[in-house]
């Protein structure tokens, strides 16, 4: 059983790498206007968009301009999405006659989808009309992911050869990301999902007469496949249905589960290779990919192992829940039987490693250490694969910290891919690491000190604490998955997590772009024997060490009072 779980995880990672490498290299070409069939096919559409929007695609933006464009565009998105929800009762494509969404939930949802978090304080099928889902949520699924890619492109450009005054053009990066990457991939994935039985319709709910006479069952339908495709690919995670990909209409078969799982990590993983390709040094991309995988695998092993070994208290009662050839065993609470433990645990770790947040099982029901894995991956800042674009730029900021320490240890002013790392970059890297962590800790501290915070808990004790910690870890790092067990549509959580999402997204994007602006102006130094290569095992180890150490040192006290003590108590009881 364990052997099969390892094999399944291994095969998944192998297939992921197999697809990510060519996609990554392809993206480097498509996103930078390189030659190829993609440009020939869609180039006219791209140029038409610029002409209609009045954008000069050759214009280089300074980092300030770029950041202002990102913030402005996202602000417009938030306002538009907020208005759409508040007015949906009077708008078309509302076959089920859903009413306007309340102000706190509308604010939370608007911020959530624009910031690529897709934290959902609402049940999709009972709150959002078709129009809101399609025009509001699905379109933000595309645009928020494209914004992540755009910011990453700006940052990677700043590391490239030659000094430049600007970091690229946001509108061009945005259009190309949507047109060349997100739309084609989503289209393909949506068709695959429809083939597996994921629903796609504009009709209202279907009503079925059950065998019990007089009892009707309502099946919520809608344009599901199209939204699920981008929610997985764009590390959005906001499901059409309340139970997300655990719902049989959203994720019906093992095959659909595999496609959706692959889609979670595909673009974040591929962007590592885009990075290497754009730097004309593919080893750099592989190094970052290796570092991410080296963090991913042990956490996966922890969660998978904990879930497979089940609950010690049950064993105490004489129940045999050990997996064997004759039974699946392990901790199946909150998991779909059609997926089983391995596919559920793999999904839970992947969705929190990438800042996706879609779920196919209930994380609240995981064993304490099984739940610690996903929670900690988010607390690391969503950089292990991470969000589309955002994961890699977060990881690159860690790389800057790592080279700084390494540079000091080899007696040279540090440099990353030939660009000198100085005080300004360190300041920005510190902000990127500091602010989301601060939002998690301060948010959790406030929530567990006030009645509005603790009153929403379903469980007392350390597990309740884990629920709050998970919620803020998810929001502030733009993951969007929920531990569950916490009622989050009240005004306190809707607002507090909304603020945490804003901090986690934009207080990272701005420092990243500022660092890009500063790095872009620097000369790229030629490597010598005194330069620390950033593609070897040593650097990979150092990068992993930096991420793990900072992540661990920041969250050890909080984790000790949540999942760790829960695990110790559980074991102590056995």
């Amino acid at each position: 059983m364990t052997g099969r779980a390892i094999a399944q995880a291994g095969i998944f990672l192998a297939i992921l790498t197999l697809f990510a490498v060519p996609l990554g290299h392809g993206m480097a070409r498509w996103l930078n206007g390189g030659p190829g069939w993609m440009g020939q096919l869609l180039g006219p559409v791209e140029r038409l968009i610029y002409r209609v929007a009045g954008v000069d695609p050759t214009q280089e933006m300074s980092w300030r301009r770029y950041a202002a464009s990102v913030l402005g565009f996202n602000l417009v998105g938030i306002c538009f999405l907020y208005a759409l929800q508040r007015l949906q009762g009077n708008l078309p494509f509302n076959p089920n006659g859903l009413g306007d969404v309340g102000p706190e939930v509308a604010f939370n949802t608007a911020v959530s989808f624009v910031s690529n978090t897709n934290w959902q304080t609402y049940g999709g099928e009972t709150t959002m009309s078709h129009l809101t889902q399609m025009l509001g949520l699905t379109s933000q699924n595309f645009l928020s992911a494209a914004t992540g890619i755009a910011v990453l492109l700006a940052f990677v450009r700043s590391l490239g050869e030659g000094q430049r005054a600007g970091v690229g053009n946001y509108w061009v990066d945005l259009v190309r990301s949507v047109l060349y990457v997100l739309l084609p991939l989503s289209l393909g994935l949506a068709l695959l999902l429809v083939s597996q039985g994921v629903v796609q319709t504009l009709a209202g709910s279907a009503v079925a007469q059950t065998l019990e006479s007089g009892v009707e069952q309502v099946y919520a339908l809608g344009p599901v496949a199209s939204q699920v495709a981008i929610k997985q690919l764009g590390t959005n995670g906001g499901g059409y249905y309340n139970v997300n990909s655990a719902h049989p209409f959203e994720n019906p078969t093992s095959l659909s589960n595999f496609f959706e799982l692959l889609a979670i990590l595909l673009i974040p993983a591929a962007l590592c290779f885009t990075f290497g390709s754009m730097l004309k040094d593919r080893r750099q991309g592989w190094a970052i990919y290796a570092a991410m995988t080296l963090i991913f695998v042990p956490v996966l092993a922890l969660t998978l192992g904990s879930e497979l070994s089940g609950n010690p208290r049950l064993a105490n009662l004489g129940v045999d829940d050990v997996p064997s050839l004759l039974q699946s065993g392990g901790n199946l609470e909150g998991k779909e039987t059609r997926f089983g433990i391995t596919s559920s645990a793999l999904w839970a770790v992947a969705t929190t490693a990438a800042s996706n947040g879609s779920v196919n099982s209930m994380h609240d029901s995981y064993t304490p250490l099984g739940g610690l894995g996903p929670m900690w991956l988010m607390q690391l800042g969503e950089i292990v694969y991470g969000g589309v674009g955002s994961g890699l730029y977060g990881m690159l900021m860690y790389a800057i910290v790592a080279v700084f320490i390494a540079g000091l240890m080899v007696g040279r002013t540090p440099e990353y891919v030939g660009k000198k790392v100085e005080a300004f970059e360190m300041k920005m890297a510190s902000l990127v690491i500091l602010l989301p962590a601060a939002a998690v800790l301060v948010g959790t501290a406030i929530a567990c000190s006030i009645p509005e915070g603790t009153g929403a808990l379903a469980n007392p004790g350390p597990h309740g604490f884990s629920e709050i910690l998970y919620a803020f870890s998810s929001g502030a790092n733009n993951n969007g998955s929920a531990f569950g067990g916490l009622t989050v549509n009240g005004p306190f959580y809707a607002t507090a997590i909304g603020v945490a999402m804003l901090i986690g997204r934009y207080w990272v994007i701005v420092p990243v772009l500022a660092a890009a602006g500063s790095l872009a102006k620097k000369k790229r130094l030629p490597p010598t024997a005194g330069t620390l290569p950033t593609h070897g095992p040593l650097f990979i180890f150092l990068l992993v060490g930096t991420v793990v150490l900072v992540g661990a040192l920041t969250f050890i006290p909080a984790l000790a009072l949540g999942p760790v003590i829960e695990a110790l108590q559980l074991r102590g009881a056995s």
Binding site: A437, A445, L553, A558, I565
Partner: protein, 688 residues
């Protein structure tokens, strides 16, 4: 390097002064410059108030709170002591220098001539442009340029070198420094620095650290440390509401106490590096001073660690001063002994190093003793720019030596020619990088003396070392490209600049810099000044001109161009010490968590006790042990901070691997036994 300036690490006088300074440095206005230690000071103050409150309210934990507060103060004091120690070494050096800056009476001349009238004024009143006369056994009153005279000068006050040096007007040895003493003869000097701005003043300010500013790298590290401090501040501050929640939901124990929170905070923030950071920087400057190099800024020292191109003058740095004769190659029909004999005769009166080396070679090869030319009735013909030959007229014979074309001209006058065989030899020697001198006697061309640059012993290995750490060496020479290439190959430099002019040097530096390299060079002449000003690290020789010294950002008092290599090492060592201690400091936190977290929640969540892998005596002993370890490690690392970590030239990955192993892994592991031992001692003493 003079051994007089080597100081033991813990000199009694310095330690005494440092202890006093450690308390003076508690002034919060000074502490705020070091954010990490400032947080510790605030924490100490806070726990002192807490212990006051605990004592008055006769809290049973009062003893623990007092102990925490005392050890937090020690943490701050230890860090201050480290800085004071580093400064103290500089101050002691400055005191020695100050003795040289005595006020002397200067003879200010009305006219810049020896016979002019002068008035006697105190040297402190001398201004730039004044002209003074200094005679034997008098101190030179200020920095200046010699405009007339030659004298031997004792510069030991500054260089520590007791052998006197010759200073003379004109050329590259015309600069004198205030505070040095004229031993013989007299000098007329134009003062070039106003009082308070002299070289000695700058040097004193430098070693005292009065003008010490944080270097860019230090600032970047400060930002990282401040960031980490904020992270840990958040982690500990939020622990209070977390623990309140834990107590409420578990219904047992008490929220974590404020003293414990402060203790945890101080243990977690990077106090080890925070406390030693400035000591490391000052000690780096100090090591440079021990090497007899004065830097005008800490920035230059740091840049030295970063340099990846070294421009080295051939003469003096790579080769021993001058060319030397290494072989006699006779013309057809002439024996080698005949050639040697003629060459010796032609060189006996030639006082140039080349001439002397011919005499030496003749003696070595053929036991040819020196002969008295006057007794032989010979007439010496010195080298002139017109003839470009030198030699002797003896018994009506004209013996001459000179470059190939000069001798050709001489031979033509005697209606003969340089034989083809000799021409071939000339060409061959030129290709090898040597300089051929042709020797002729009247009509007959006797053969060729091969002169060669002699590369300094061990220099090739030094360059190999440089290459291994990624530093490119470039030889600068006035020789033709052929000769230059041969010497470059022999010395093992990576590149060379032949027929170098000041403009070419400057252009080369700019070229390297535009490719992103950092360039270091040495220079002494006025024509070096533009290149020195352009280079990132520019070491001027103390024997050099005032212009060179002002253009450079370091002065080598020993005037040893090879010193550049040591300067680079000192710079690297400085950066590496910082990096190693930063890693060590952060890695230490793992063990401290294992000590403090179970202890802090022992009453609320007894199950967390399983994380207490060290098996510590009691919760209060665990916390106190961690705090004491944190304080003592600063003291324990002071020698390392002052001396710097060991530097071995190796490629970056090898260095990183080694330092990660020692300071990273060591930093994770060391505190476990360390805290355990302190815990055992505390419990044995019944203090907890």
């Amino acid at each position: 390097m003079s051994s007089a300036q080597q100081r033991p690490l813990f000199e009694r006088a310095i330690v005494q002064r440092a202890v006093i300074d450690a308390f003076a440095k508690l002034d919060p206005r000074r502490m705020i410059r070091n954010p990490v230690m400032f947080v510790v000071e605030v924490g100490s103050l806070f726990t002192t108030l807490l212990s006051g409150h605990a004592l008055f309210s006769s809290d049973p934990n009062a003893g623990f709170v007092v102990a925490v507060s005392v050890w937090l103060w020690f943490t701050v004091l230890f860090a201050n002591f480290a800085e004071a120690m580093a400064e103290g070494r500089g101050k002691a050096q400055a005191d020695t220098l100050r003795k040289a800056r005595r006020d002397v009476i200067a003879k200010r001349l009305e006219e810049p001539t020896r016979v002019s009238r002068y008035e006697e004024i105190p040297s402190a009143r001398l201004k730039q442009g004044d002209v003074v006369l200094v005679e034997a056994s008098q101190l030179i009153p200020g920095d200046g340029e010699i405009i007339e005279g030659v004298a031997s000068v004792d510069e030991s006050a500054i260089t520590g070198e007791s052998a006197p040096v010759i200073r003379e007007a004109g050329g590259d040895r015309s600069a004198v420094t205030g505070g040095t003493r004229v031993l013989s003869d007299w000098l007329i000097i134009r003062i070039t620095a106003n009082p308070g701005e002299t070289f000695l003043d700058r040097m004193i300010a430098m070693v005292e650290g009065a003008k010490r500013q944080k270097t860019p790298n230090e600032i970047a590290l400060d930002i990282l440390l401040a960031g980490l401090t904020i992270v840990f501040l958040l982690a500990t501050v939020t622990l209070y509401p977390f623990s309140v929640y834990a107590v409420e939901s578990s219904g047992q124990g008490q929220p974590v106490s404020l003293a414990v929170l402060v203790a945890l905070l101080v243990c977690l923030i990077p106090t080890t590096i925070g406390g030693l950071l400035s000591a490391i920087g000052i000690a780096g400057m100090d090591r440079l001073i021990q090497a007899n190099v004065i830097a005008t800024s800490g920035r230059a020292v740091e840049a030295a660690g970063d340099v990846d191109v070294l421009l080295l003058d051939k003469t003096g740095t790579i080769t021993l001063g001058n060319r030397q004769a290494v072989a006699f190659v006779p013309a057809p029909g002439v024996t080698e002994a005949e050639l040697a004999d003629a060459a010796q005769l032609a060189s006996l009166a030639d006082e140039t190093p080349e001439g002397r080396s011919i005499v030496v070679l003749a003696k070595q090869r053929f036991e040819l003793r020196s002969r008295d030319l006057k007794a032989l009735g010979a007439h010496f013909v010195p080298f002139t720019a017109q003839t470009r030959m030198s030699g002797v007229d003896l018994d009506g014979r004209q013996i001459r030596k000179g470059a190939g074309d000069a001798i050709e001209h001489f031979a033509a006058q005697h209606s003969t020619r340089v034989p083809a065989e000799v021409r071939a030899v000339l060409e061959a020697i030129g290709k090898k990088g040597g300089t051929p001198l042709v020797v002729a006697s009247d009509q007959k061309v006797l053969g060729v003396v091969e002169l060669k640059d002699v590369v300094k012993g061990g220099i090739k290995e030094r360059f190999d070392e440089m290459r291994r750490v990624g530093i490119r060496t470039v030889m600068i020479t006035g020789d033709n490209p052929l000769t230059a290439a041969a010497i470059a190959a022999e010395a093992g430099v990576d590149d060379f600049l032949a027929e170098a002019t000041p403009e070419a040097k400057l252009a080369m530096i700019r070229q390297y810099q535009s490719e992103g390299h950092l360039v270091a060079m040495t220079g002494d002449g006025t024509n070096d000044a533009p290149a020195l000003a352009q280079a990132d690290v520019a070491v001027a020789m103390n024997t050099g001109t005032q212009a060179a010294k002002e253009a450079g950002n370091m002065v080598d008092l020993d005037s040893n161009p090879t010193k550049l290599l040591s300067i680079v090492e000192i710079g690297k060592q400085l950066l590496m010490t910082r990096g190693a201690l930063t890693t060590f400091s952060i890695a230490n936190d793992v063990a401290k968590y294992f000590a403090i977290i179970p202890a802090a929640f022992a009453a609320t969540y007894p199950a967390l006790g399983r994380l207490d892998v060290m098996g510590l005596h009691s919760p209060s002993s665990a916390i106190l042990s961690a705090v004491i370890f944190n304080a003592l490690i600063i003291i324990a690392l002071i020698p390392l901070a002052l001396r710097g970590i060991r530097y071995r030239p190796a490629p970056a990955p090898a260095l990183l691997r080694r330092n990660l192993l020692i300071y990273g892994l060591g930093g994770v592991l060391l505190p476990f036994p360390g805290i355990k031992v302190i815990d055992l001692i505390l419990s044995a003493l019944n203090w907890v």
